[in-house]
Structures are given as structure tokens and as C-alpha cells.
């Protein structure tokens, strides 16, 4: 698990993935299925666009006063008997969780699916301290048992088909061995495996979907009930939340409970959502810790264009509509945040000097499908373009920058452009076969791998226009 850090530049990682036909078939099937379903779920709400605008404004308003909101949240949670901790980075957050576990003598804990915990590489950090974290979400369990990494925000094992999961469970789950590949039977095996853990484990770790400052209420949205088990049955609960997850008022939740399920699982509402405020005497964990994580978020917040990225509610709608994600899958992005949102979030969290992460803003044809699907109107294409500029600032003078400078010069006036065209026409001579170019040299060779290029024709439009004007005059 490498958390946020992509081990390779995107184009290189993508090449490996695009060439796997089974993976592409799996991805195509699931992304198209959920795309259709989301359109139906969203189409049912006549005021969807107004909800998006409200969701956007609600998040922006909270972010504008983020320190006040976090202080308010801290005070509310404490007033309800919870404890609040602050973590500047991943290492601090891991340390906080490990110390809480150690203070209770815990060497095994159960987890609700949390991308934030994957971001901080919590499981590996706990393992170093001799603490085993058990993933209880079905997909996360599949990923954990196969020593794999998640490839989708909502469905982390989207890249695995039922046959692979059948083989995995028959091999890894105690007492199993004769499971068929029926999803219901595989889910049943996971239930048997986890039941005892839920009933007996002393400590749980979760992420947070939303936290309400005025009431100190923390919210986890889920489907399977593993979340409720983890949030209710252990004695000690630790929830790790990115600082951007806070909302101001209880009523602010309504819009997100409308936007999130329809965008995410494409349901009217997800099966289970849990809300709790600190500790409830006689009900649920009697010790509650909330960890507020920065880990690069304040850098994102400081950027006027990039800031909107922090509106994200992790629904994954952008992944499901993205033509690039559909061809590469999540692993090509090399980070716990894949797809279009990952392409803008990962490099901003890591900083644009990260040589692999700064290739991610290039992982888009700028088709705009992600912006249309985003329930909080993050203008992902705009941020991608902006970040490409930031990445170039980091890279300094490159061959590409020089070439773009030369093109810019040629474009600086009509007559210079015409001169450049004449040069291109003369220069392309040896490459043209029957009006097409089938192999380009150097940086442009990527084009002719799978397409021909039409040759520059003998007369440009401007030459034709001048000729016509001359004839008229």
C-alpha cells in the first residue's frame, strides 16, 4: 500500500493497464452499469441542479470559515464526552491511533472502510506496532486478503471478478473451501468470517463522511451494516476525518444526504447511515476519539482555484463517467484517490514537485463528463488545466516548453503563422504517403502509433481568402 504516492508516472502506469483485455472488459461493464443507474437516480429529482448549487455553496461557506467550524466541532464533541485530536500529517495520525490502541492493550481492531485511513497508510503503520487491523467492508476485505490495493473509491475491488474472489475466499477464509462463485454465497462467507470479530473486538476505526460543528455529530454512510457493527459494538471507537468534512449546522446534512447516495451507489438512499455525538451513556462505545487530519489539505485550501477540490464528498461519480478511468482502472493513478478527482486531489495533497503525481493532471482528455456528474460542482477540467500550469512551473525549461514557445511565436501574428505553415508544408514532404502521414518522429510519435495524420494541404484558408478577395477586387 503506497497511500497517496504514485510509484510511476501516469502514462507509464496506464500503458500496463490498457493492455489487459480482461481488466478493460470488467471496467467497461461496471462503469457503464452504474452510469445508467446514476442517470435514473438523478433523473428522478426535478430540482437536482438546485441541490448541486446548494451543496457547492454549503461546502464553500464552511471552508471559508474552516477554523471556526473545527473549533466549534471540537467543543461540541468534547461537551458530549468525546476526545478530539489534531494531526498535521499522516505520521501524526497513525501515531495517535496506535497510542490509543496500545493504551487499551489492543492487538487487533476492526475497521469500517475509510479512504482517509488508506491515505495515511494506517494498516501498515499499525502492523509495525504489532496491531492487526481487519477490514470489514466486503470489498476492502477482498483487497486486504489478496494483499492488493483499492482501485475505486466506492467499490475498491471493482477490478476483481467473481471467479477471482471465489478462489481467494476458498484459500484465505478459515473453514471455507467449497464456495461457488455466486456473489450471495461469497458475501455469506464474509459474514461468517466477520461475525465473531464484530461481537468480540474491543476497538474500531472508522472514517467520517460528515461532521456537524454545532451538534458534534459524526456521520458514516454505508450499505452492508459492517459500519454499524464497528460503530456500535466495540468499547473504543476512533474516527479519522479530513478537516474538510465538517459542516456547520445539522440542517446542512440534508442536501448531502440527497446528493451523496444518488451520485455514489445510484440509490435513493444507502441502506444504513449512522450518526452519533460523542458518547451516548449505555449505548455504543463509551470511549470516542475524533482525529482531525490536515496532511496537505491546508495547502489545497490556500489555492484559490484548487480549493474547490475540498468540496469532494467521495461519491465516485466522476470515476464512473470518466473515459480515461474506464480504460485504465484505478491502479494506474497510483494513489488511494483514483479517477478525475484523484487526478486533481493527489498532486495537490503531495505538492506539484512530486514527479509522478504531477503527471496526473495530464490523465484527462478534458471531456468534461466529470464536472457534469459532480454533485458539488467541482470544475475538475478547470482545475486539471490549472494544475498542468502549476506542474510546468515546477518543471522549468523543458523541450516541450521550448516547442510551445516557438509555436507561440509563430502564432503571434497572421504573417508569421503563414510563414510557419509554408515551412511545415516543405518539412513534411518526406513523411507524406498518399496525403497522410503514418509515422511521426520524436515527441509526436505517440499520435501515429494508432492513427494516421492528414498532411498539410497545399493551400491554407487564408491563402484561399486572399486569392478570392484579389479576384473580387
Amino acid at each position: 500500500m503506497s497511500g497517496l504516492h504514485p510509484p510511476k508516472p501516469f502514462p507509464e502506469a496506464a500503458r500496463d493497464k490498457v493492455s489487459q483485455p480482461q481488466l478493460r472488459a470488467n471496467l467497461r461493464k461496471v462503469t457503464h452499469t452504474i452510469r445508467e443507474k446514476r442517470l435514473r437516480a438523478v433523473g428522478e429529482v426535478p430540482h437536482w441542479e438546485e441541490l448541486r448549487v446548494l451543496g457547492e455553496a454549503t461546502k464553500d461557506a464552511t471552508l471559508a470559515n474552516l477554523s471556526d467550524r473545527l473549533l466549534q466541532l471540537e467543543a461540541s464533541v468534547k461537551a458530549r464526552g468525546g476526545q478530539v485530536h489534531w494531526a498535521r500529517d499522516a505520521a501524526e495520525a497513525r501515531e495517535l491511533v496506535a497510542r490509543i490502541a496500545e493504551s487499551h492493550g489492543v492487538d487487533e481492531l476492526i475497521k469500517v472502510k475509510s479512504i482517509t485511513s488508506d491515505e495515511i497508510e494506517l494498516n501498515a503503520g499499525l502492523a509495525e506496532r504489532g496491531i492487526h487491523a481487519i477490514e470489514t467492508d466486503l470489498a476492502e476485505l477482498i483487497v486486504q486478503l489478496s494483499h492488493d490495493t483499492p482501485s475505486h473509491i466506492l467499490v475498491p475491488a471493482i477490478h476483481r471478478n467473481r471467479a477471482e474472489i471465489q478462489a481467494l475466499f476458498n484459500r484465505e477464509l478459515p473453514g471455507e473451501g467449497n464456495l461457488s462463485d455466486a456473489p450471495a454465497e461469497l458475501a455469506g462467507a464474509a459474514r461468517r468470517y466477520l461475525r465473531h470479530k464484530f461481537l468480540t473486538t474491543k476497538m474500531a476505526v472508522s472514517g467520517v463522511n460528515f461532521a456537524v460543528a454545532e451538534t458534534g455529530t459524526v456521520c458514516v454512510v454505508e450499505s452492508e451494516g459492517n459500519g454499524r457493527m464497528c460503530l456500535t459494538l466495540p468499547e473504543v471507537l476512533v474516527s479519522v476525518m479530513g478537516i474538510e468534512k465538517v459542516l456547520e449546522r445539522w440542517e446542512d446534512l440534508a442536501v448531502f444526504m440527497e446528493l451523496l447516495p444518488r451520485s455514489s451507489t445510484a440509490e435513493r438512499m444507502n441502506p444504513y447511515t449512522s450518526f452519533w455525538s460523542g458518547v451516548t451513556p449505555g449505548d455504543g462505545p463509551q470511549e470516542f476519539h475524533l482525529i482531525l487530519l490536515d496532511n496537505g489539505r491546508t495547502d489545497v485550501l490556500a489555492d484559490a482555484t484548487g480549493r474547490q477540490t475540498l468540496r469532494c464528498i467521495r461519491c465516485s461519480a466522476c470515476l464512473n463517467v470518466c473515459p480515461v478511468y474506464e480504460r485504465t482502472g484505478g491502479h494506474a493513478y497510483g494513489s488511494v484517490y483514483p479517477g478525475p478527482i484523484g487526478a486533481i486531489l493527489t498532486p495537490q495533497l503531495l505538492g506539484m514537485a512530486d514527479k509522478n503525481a504531477n503527471t496526473l493532471p495530464g490523465a484527462s482528455s478534458l471531456c468534461g463528463a466529470c464536472f457534469d456528474a459532480c454533485p458539488v460542482r467541482i470544475n475538475i477540467p478547470q482545475v486539471l488545466i490549472y494544475l498542468r500550469g502549476e506542474a510546468n512551473e515546477e518543471k522549468g525549461v523543458t523541450a516541450e516548453a521550448l516547442a510551445m514557445g516557438a509555436v507561440g511565436y509563430a502564432m503571434s501574428s497572421g504573417w508569421r503563422f503563414e510563414g510557419a505553415l509554408k515551412l511545415a508544408r516543405a518539412g513534411q514532404g518526406p513523411l507524406v504517403r498518399g496525403g497522410e502521414i503514418t509515422a511521426l518522429p520524436g515527441l509526436l510519435g505517440g499520435w501515429t502509433q494508432s492513427r494516421d495524420l492528414k498532411a498539410v494541404p497545399p493551400q491554407s484558408f487564408r491563402e484561399w481568402w486572399r486569392q478570392r478577395e484579389g479576384a473580387d477586387g
Binding site: S67, A87, R99, V155, R160, P183, S277, T298, L301
Partner: protein, 208 residues
Amino acid sequence: MGNAEARLEVLTRINRAVAGVQAPALPAYPQCERLEREAMLRQFQDRIEDYRASFQRVAQTEVAGAVALALAGAERVVVPAGLNPAFLPTGLHELHDDPPLSHAGLDRAEAVVTGCAVAISETGTIILDHGVDQGRRALTLIPDLHICVIRAEQIVQSVLDGVQRMEGSVGAGRPLTWISGGSATSDIELVRVEGVHGPRRLCVVVLD
């Protein structure tokens, strides 16, 4: 562990990051078209059945019979302290949470019968605020069958209506559980499987 230092530094970073940023004004919450009472109840039924949960609508005197039908022979039934005893058929092995039932004890129960705080028709959502007729959270979590008796007047139309109704409960520090159908997963090839960990079966009884 120097958490005060981390706290100060994160807050300082935030204040530096958003210095001078103005919060936008919030637009009004978009209003849905209001349904008549009967249409709303039909919508609720449609949503509940769409989640493949069972639905019955009965008169006050028929509740115990509807619950008996939903129990389908289950006998070891968890009963929260504040549940109207008239809702229960006779002859059950009732499990009461006083003294609190252990996790293992709850795991031996076959079913739980509760009321609810409010329900939302548009999304088919039942909200528990774990009041006396619902019990603490574990009671509606561990038994495999959850039968929820909802008074018709507890059903509101929109998510916003439901959230607003819960303002008092949340303000009083009560936990909430929102339930929309039974436990489900779509993690394997996006095939929906009903029933993973949470109660695998949900039966809704609406009382007119």
C-alpha cells in the same frame, strides 16, 4: 504528545489559507412538489418494496397480527422497554434489555420489533433515534430480522423534512440510525446482494 502544537499549527495554516475569503450566501433549499397524504404513503410503500423489504399497512387492531406474520415463526424476540405491548402477538419468548443483553445474547435472538422516530417517503428511509420504543443501537443491529412499526403520521415526504424533525433528538445528543431497506452489498461485480451483516431482513408495518 504535543497535540496542542499540532492543533495550533493546523488552525494557523487554515487561517492563512482563507484570509480574506468570503463565505457565499446559501441559496434557499429547493422545494419538492408536495404530495397528498395518501400519495405519500403509497410512495413510501413503493420505496420500501423497491428495497425488497416487506411492507404491510394495517389498522391499530391488526398490528399484532401483522407482526406475527412478519415474524414468520421466529420466537426469540427482542422487545424494547417502551414498545406498545399491544403490537406483539402472544406466546413469544420476549427478550428485554434490562439488565442489558450481552452481544452474544443478542446474537441468539431471532428478531427485534421496534417503533421509529420518523420515516421519509421519497427515499423509503426509516430513522431511529433510539428512544424507548426502539432501544439502544445494538438491539436493532444484531438480530437478523427487524420489524419496524411506523405510525402513519410519522411519515414525512422529503429528506429535509426528516432532517428537520430530528433536530431535537440530535440536539439532545441522541444517536440516529437511518435505515433504507435491509443490509446490502454490490461489491462483487456490482451485483446487489441483500443481507450481509446488518439485519438481513426488514419488515415494515405501517399503522393507520
